[in-house]
Symmetry: C2
Subunit: 290 residues, 2 copies
């Protein structure tokens, strides 16, 4: 069993980006600039945005965090999006999800200019991904493709089972793995809550990508010997032994599953850092396209 | 075995649309108007466009066919697209594919205003389909969903295997069947030329949707007893016994496969008429959105 080290690959990516940013600055251009809109005070969202700011600093990007209270109206948030769309000093921006219930997330995402949609959530970005056109690919699926590529994992003709059909992970992941690309060219099955014989299906997977948000859902009896297992899940569960009062638990029962795998990611240091690195890649791409 | 009668369902759809068009006209509005751009003199393309014009006439739509020689330049075609985008008298239009090799099809599709993209091929349309937002759904997948719905075929929890990963049929079909909708909620596998154990995979399908363009590729030994088989393939093969010199052959060996099926489509009168009816539905939708 080999651990797929997201921290290591993400660090490689950040170093590659740093070199490009150095060259950009040396040529007299301004550095790429990412803005993040953070609504309210959700602990997880705060953390995510803080990491993104830190990542930007490391590679030499500028970053701006825009904090709005959770009482912000949809119209006020739309006005902020319009302002960021028009701001020539910002290459790309994200609106950290989830948003308060009184705001229609789709409306906000639809308002983001596709040229600055570094999260890759807008219809234009998603459509281009499906059509195999250059675009901003949603950060988590892109990060997983990078991980498979950097570990040179053979995917062609393999059976890839994707557990979860979300717009930002499961569905784009399934599409990317089925494309005529490398990594890709896999036979892909999209499974979800209505899937029957899930155990049998998972057992047939050469590559199992799990993004359903149910802690330790995938157990050892569901995994084929030698499979590649990618765990996207990350759920905070209370843990009084930890300083911050919680620990992150994945969708895969790592301790028992790992022995059966050729490659596996761990809940921390696996997909998460790759997702963050992908956002940097997209921001660099947005800067280059301008 | 029951034949899924696309002619019958398409006729139902056309009658439903006719009633709506009558009401539109009675209210004093102009009828929906579809334009089709036909480049060159490809026999199949000529036929497709002729059918579309005929369909429009039947439901009371206006239609316009714009013929351009196969020597038309990309810029000239882009100019025509821009003209149609701006024409307030036209609700939706299609550019009949394939185009001559000197024209970049993607460039043309990207130039079509999403509001008039009744073929559903543009990134915005494809992205919205993936995100579950209202949009123009590519005509063939939409027609197949209609067929499944009108025959009340149970899809939830079924294993649906889609053979073919094209942008306009296989991939959107797979996404639609996996969504939390009815029809939908199937466990979906996307298979293609790199898939191994194709026979075994097809044998596991409760619903088999075939869109690979290889004549009579799916044989009886690849189909599970009781399966639903949808044949999207339609290849012209020379046949001197026919008046027009050819006959259409599907991707499924119909004569031998049909006995194993609960439901099956035939190469003619199956998916084809549903595709045509979907274009009318999209054109009506474009008219209503304006």
């Amino acid at each position: 069993m080999q651990l797929l080290d997201g921290n290591l690959c993400a660090e490689q990516i950040r170093q590659e980006i740093t070199q490009k940013v150095d060259a950009i600055k040396a040529s007299g251009q301004r550095a790429p600039h990412l803005a993040a809109v953070l609504v309210g005070n959700d602990g997880a969202s705060e953390n995510y945005v803080a990491f993104k700011v830190k990542d930007c600093a490391q590679v030499g990007f500028e970053s701006t965090t825009i904090r709005l209270p959770d009482t912000v109206t949809e119209d006020e948030l739309l006005a902020k999006v319009a302002e960021l769309n028009a701001d020539d000093g910002i290459d790309g921006f994200i609106v950290q999800l989830p948003l308060p219930k009184h705001i229609d997330e789709n409306k906000i995402i639809l308002a983001i200019d596709a040229k600055k949609d570094v999260d890759g959530f807008s219809p234009v970005s998603v459509g281009k991904l499906n059509l195999g056109l250059p675009t901003f690919i949603s950060a988590t699926p892109n990060g997983i493709m990078e991980l498979l590529a950097r570990y040179k994992i053979e995917t062609e003709g393999k059976h890839c089972v994707v557990l979860g059909r979300s717009n930002i992970v499961g569905t784009p992941m399934a599409v990317l793995m089925s494309r005529n690309t490398n990594p890709g060219n896999a036979t892909v099955t999209i499974a979800h809550s209505r899937t029957k014989n899930l155990k049998e299906l998972c057992l047939s997977a050469d590559i199992l990508i799990v993004a359903i948000g149910k802690t330790e859902f995938v157990t050892a009896d569901m995994v084929k010997q030698g499979a590649v297992v990618i765990d996207v899940g990350q759920t905070r569960v209370p843990d009084t032994t930890k300083k911050n009062g919680f620990r992150n638990v994945g969708d895969v029962d790592f301790d028992n599953v790992k022995e059966k795998c050729s490659y596996i990611t761990y809940v921390t240091g696996g997909v998460g850092p790759m997702t963050r690195a992908s956002l940097l890649q997209n921001t660099l791409k947005a800067h280059q396209a301008r």
